[in-house]
Structure formats: C-alpha cells, structure tokens
Amino acid sequence: MEKEQFYYDNKIVRNFLYASIAFGVIGMLVGLIVAFMYLFPSMTDGISWLSYGRLRPLHTNAVIFAFVGNSIFAGVYYSLQRLLKTRMYSNFLTQLNFWGWQIIILGAAITLPLGYTTSKEYAELEWPFDIAIALIWVAFGINMIGTIIKRRERHIYVAIWFYLATFIAVALLHIFNSLEIPVSAFKSYSVYAGVQDALVQWWYGHNAVAFFLTTPILGLMYYFVPKAANRPVYSYRLSIIHFWSLIFIYIWAGPHHLLYTSLPDWAQNLGVVFSIMLIAPSWGGMINGLLTLRGAWDKVRTDPVLKFYVVAITGYGMSTFEGPMLSLKNVNAIAHYTDWIVAHVHVGTLAWNGFMAFGMVYWLIPRMTKTKLYSIGLANFHFWIGTLGIILYTLPMYVAGFTQASMWKQFNPDGSLVYGNFLETVTEIMPMYWMRAIGGTLYFTGLLVLVYNVIRTVMAGSPVEDELAEAPALVKISNKQLKGEAWHSWLERRPVQFTILTTIAVAIGGVVQIVPMLVVKSNIPTISSVKPYTPLELQGRDLYIREGCNNCHSQMIRPFRSEVKRYGEYSKSGEFVYDHPFLWGSKRTGPDLHRVGQKYNDNWHFNHMWDPQSTSSGSIMPGYKWLFDNEAMDHQYIEKKMQVMVTLGVPYSEEDIANARKNMEAQSAQIEKNLNNDPDFVKSYEASKKAAVARGEEFVAMKDREIVALIAYLQRLGTDIKVKKVE
C-alpha cells in the first residue's frame, strides 16, 4: 500500500511544554508566597496588588489553567497526532490555541492582582476573559475533531475519547457558570443570586475538577504510561468501562448529592449501591495504570519517568477515595471550611496533576531534542524532594483540619464554647502552617531542578523540529456497519457520531442538573425584612469582592449548635436573594462573617482593617491600608450597577437609583460621625489633615474614602433578620 508522508508538529508541543514549565514556576511561586503570608501576614503590607486575597486566586488560576492546562495541551497535541497518524488539522487553529491561551493567562496575571474578579472560585476572571476562553476552547475543539476526521488510523484510541469528553464538558460548564451582565469593562454581576449562584458555582467547581484536572490527565495516562513502560495498558476493556462510567458518574453524582432525600425508596437503594460501586471506576483506572507496569517494576527503580507516574497514579487513587468520603454528611461536617480540604486538593494537584506533568516533561524533552536527559540523578532528586514536599505539605494540613474542626466544636459543661475566641484555633495550628510552607518549598525546589535539567538537556540536544512520518491513507469503507463488524467497532471509526453521542450523553446529564437549578429561584422563601443593599453597601460589597475577603471568610453559618453559639442565628436561604454573586466562601482561615453586622462598632472595623493585630492580637489577617488612602472612592458606576441589579430582579425603584448619590452621602456622613466618637480617631484624623495640607495635597474627607463603604457593608451583613436583644 502506498504510504503518505507528513510531518508531526513538534514545535507546538515544545511551546506548550515550555509555557507549562514557565507558568508552573510562577504559579507555584505565588502559592509559596501565599503560604508564607500565613506566617508573616504583613510581608507585603500596604501593597494592594500583593495582598493575600488577590494573590490566592492568581495562584489557583495559574496552576490549574496555566501549568496543568498547558501541560494538557502539550500532551494532547503530541499524542493525538501520533495516535491518528496525521498532523494537526489546522496550523492556524494550533497557533491560535497556543497564543490565545497564553494571552488569557497574561491577562489573568495582570487583572487578578489589580482586583478585577468575579469572586467565583476557579472562575474569577472577568467577563471579557470568559468570552475569550470560550472562543479559544472552541478553536481547540475544532482543531481536535478536524484532526480526528483526517486521520490515517481507523480506530480511535481510548485516550482520545477522554480528550473529546474534556472538550465538550468544559465548554458546557464554563458557559453556564460564566453567565453574567457587564457593568463596565472589567466588572460584571452573576445572573444568579445567593443559593442559585452557589449551586451553579459548585456544579461548575466539582465538574471542573472532573473534566479539567481528571479526564484529560487520564487520557494522557493511557498514552504516556504505556509508552514510558513500553508495554500496552493492562486492560483495554477496563479502560472503556473506566471512560463511560467516569463521564457519567459526575453527571449522575450531581443530582444525586443535591436531591438525595427527594428520591423514592427504590431509587435511593439503587443509589446507595451505586455510590459504593462507583469507587470502582476511579480505582479501576488507577489499577489499570499501575498494573500497566506489571513485569516492569524493575524499570521503576531506575527510570524517573515511571517513578513520577507511579506516585501520580497513587495520588489519583487517594484523592478519588477521599472525595466520596468527604461527600458523606458526617465527614463533611468535620472537614468543610477547614484545612483538610486544602490537603485534599493538594494531593490531587501536587501528586496527580504535577507528577503526571513532570513525568511527561522528562519523557518528551529528550525525545524531541534527540538526546538523552542531561541528568537522571537530578530527575531522581526532583522525584524524591517532590514526594517529600507532598507529604510535608499534606500531612500537617490534615492535622490542622482535624484540629480546627474539633476546637470549633468543643463545649464546656456549662454550654459555652471552650475556644470562644476564633483566634485560639488559628494560633494553635501555626506550626502546621510552618510545615506546609516548608513542604511547598521542597516541592518548588524540585521544580527548579527540573527547569535546570530541561535547559541543560535542550542546550545539548538538537533544535526541536517537525518530525517526518509516513503512513498509508485510510481506505474508504462504507459509513454503514460492515457485515460481521461489531457495533462498537463501527462507532469507534465514526468520530462525528461518537462525539455527538458523547455530547448528548453529557448534555442530558447537564440538563438534568441545570433545570432544577434554574427553577429553584422561585422556591426560595422570601423574607419580608430582607431588603436590597443601599448604594454605599453595594459599593462596599464590591470592595469585599475586589479584595478577595471570601478567600478566608465564609458567610454561611451552618445549623450546628457550635456555629450558632459562635456566630449567631444560622443562615437562611432567603437572606441571599439579592446577592449577585453569592459570597459564602469555602474556607475559614478567619471567622464566618455572616452575622458580623452591628457586632462591633464602626471604629473597631476602622482600626481592624488598618491593623488587624491592633484589635485582634495574634491575628494573621493583613492590613488593608490602601482603603484609607487620601483618595475619593470611585462611584462612577453606581447607577449602572443598580440598573444591572434591577435587570437581575433586585427591586430598586427608579427613585432609588436617582437618589443613589444623595443616599450614599448621608450614610457615609453618619459613619464618619460615628468614627468621631473615638478620641484617638479624631486626633489622628486632624493630624493627617494637617499633613495633607503640608504636602500641598487636597484632603479627601474620610466619608468619601473606600474604607467607609466597606464598613457600611460589613455592618449590614446578616442584620436583616437579626433578633434584637430586649434590654
């Protein structure tokens, strides 16, 4: 048969690999800085764009979308071409995919520290980026499907199924969670509010872990582990079951977790059986990966690539076991809001995602530069220091999580909390935060060793070039099922049908989840005393979002005796109906804030935001001094903001909007008046007035500065249904 010649695009693989490594260094460095901020809260004191609340989203976005994202693209572009015996479908789309993705990342690296954020976890980027992400993602999808169509290999290997499912599901998740109405170039409000916003956000959050951090990596596992071990996957049959069950589990698990109690008995029983059965596919995948090394375990002793893979797959097994455990009510009651969750996600990211990426780098770079890895010894060193880093990171965080949970819930015999002051539960786990920072440093050191090793390898090798390959063209055979051909063999050579079926499968599952979320709004009981935020409070709320307060503070008091005792009346769904977006948070590094309104006076908040340690000794919260700058707060969009809220169903009247500025003026003047109750404030205020005059600056009254708007919001929190004490 006549063979056709073509070139594999290796340069794009190289580009994505370099981008992955470079952004891995940046993303993990930011992570490390953030970890050290627990120990030295004032280390970037006064620098707004280096504050914890703004850097933490930068860290998560950089490692997920830039480090892991680029490594996924590198692996997909390498394996897809070779599994299908063809070059990528379109060089233009390939380049668009690469440059578009990097520009989005750069945009994120600039806008997140500047405080442009939606506050929704792992979806913090503002609306222009959401649109760009959708476009680039579609370009990637078209390029991939086009490549599959022009392939020279009849059958589509299981890895590619995982890539296809990733493309479809991520597109669906991203679009639904990013529905928002713009106010200005970098500010928008989520179309969903409160409970509904939380449901959609965590439907996204949960599935993003599944379809961005799991399914594509599994595809890579099914290609690169056999390649590195030089033996086929342990069971191809198991991989098929793994694929279909996995993409459906997530779809089924959503409504299952959300609507469990409304199921009839037979379905509940079936559900329980399935919940247990469903550990099998994940573990089936893990076992499939590990057993691929059967008979090759001697190689694991010497080959660093296989070492990385073994720990990565083990990490996958551990976190997919832990995940279902965490979804159990009684376990969740302990783990939620604590550092246990931080430990859980870092087993997944450091071990599973990170080590899969590192193994791929060590395998690909020498092959593409046609040379040997510069130093096997250094790669082994990276492996060991990285593994030690993971252990030192996660174990202390598990201990911290249990410590927090147990301290939060302990009662004295007289019914009071043993640790009534939240700070006691923070200072107790400081040693754990130290160990975590050390573990992170070790892991990061390993990455730097990789960078050195890669640079030396590339310098010694030949430049990466597109690789000549040849394969016979596919003989055209009937689109219909051939005689004697099994149905699955037919389906697997019909990529478009296959994609459509997968899409339908994922879409039905998506619809089944989304519909209840879309209609839930009308089922949230309205509370007559819950009113929309005043204009000043709305502005303050946007500052809360800009500064990323929700990274450390929840606004959701659970109906537990320990929480009601500590924070006040538990949160009701009806209280959040005007919250676009919701700000429940997912971690309590500091206390819950849902009932903080009116708990302290305005001066307390004023002093606390300037220097948290002055009001709360031992606090690890940083100061927010830039909110006090001698600058007037930017109120230019307030009417527009309120109008957008009206289109989303918040009942502001036209009069409210017309009087917004007058209203803000009155409320902020009252707060400034309250602040004057403190003689210390009066003294320093007068001093700063004189200082401004001496400098020749125009003096901005305190009431016009950002801090006052933030105080207005904080003092409003949870007060709508607050039970007033009878004197």
Binding site: A198, L199, P255, R558
Partner: protein
C-alpha cells in the same frame, strides 16, 4: 455547604424525576457499556491496546 440549601430544591414540584432520569440513564448506559466492553474479541482488544506503539 450545599446540603443546607437543598431543601429549597425539594419543594420544586416533580423534582424527583431529575435524579431518577439521571440514575436510570447512568444505570442503563453503564450496563450497556459493560456489555459493549465485554463483547470485544480478544484479538481486537489486543490490536487496540497496541495503538500507542505504532508511530
């Protein structure tokens, strides 16, 4: 966290149909693909698992 807001969903009329649809869908497809994977011939499976080595 979400478990404290689920009661809002339970009051939606006919809500139980959604998890049932997804459960039945998942169950049927899971079984179908179990059968699908099991009915592959041994030779075919072997051929497919060799695909990464043909480049």
């Amino acid at each position: 966290m979400l478990k404290f807001v689920k009661h809002n969903m339970e009051t939606i009329v006919g809500i139980e149909i959604y998890p049932i649809i997804s459960l039945v869908l998942f169950f049927v497809i899971f079984i179908a693909f179990l059968v699908y994977a099991m009915t592959y011939s041994k030779d075919k499976i072997k051929e497919l698992s060799q695909l990464p080595f043909k480049d």
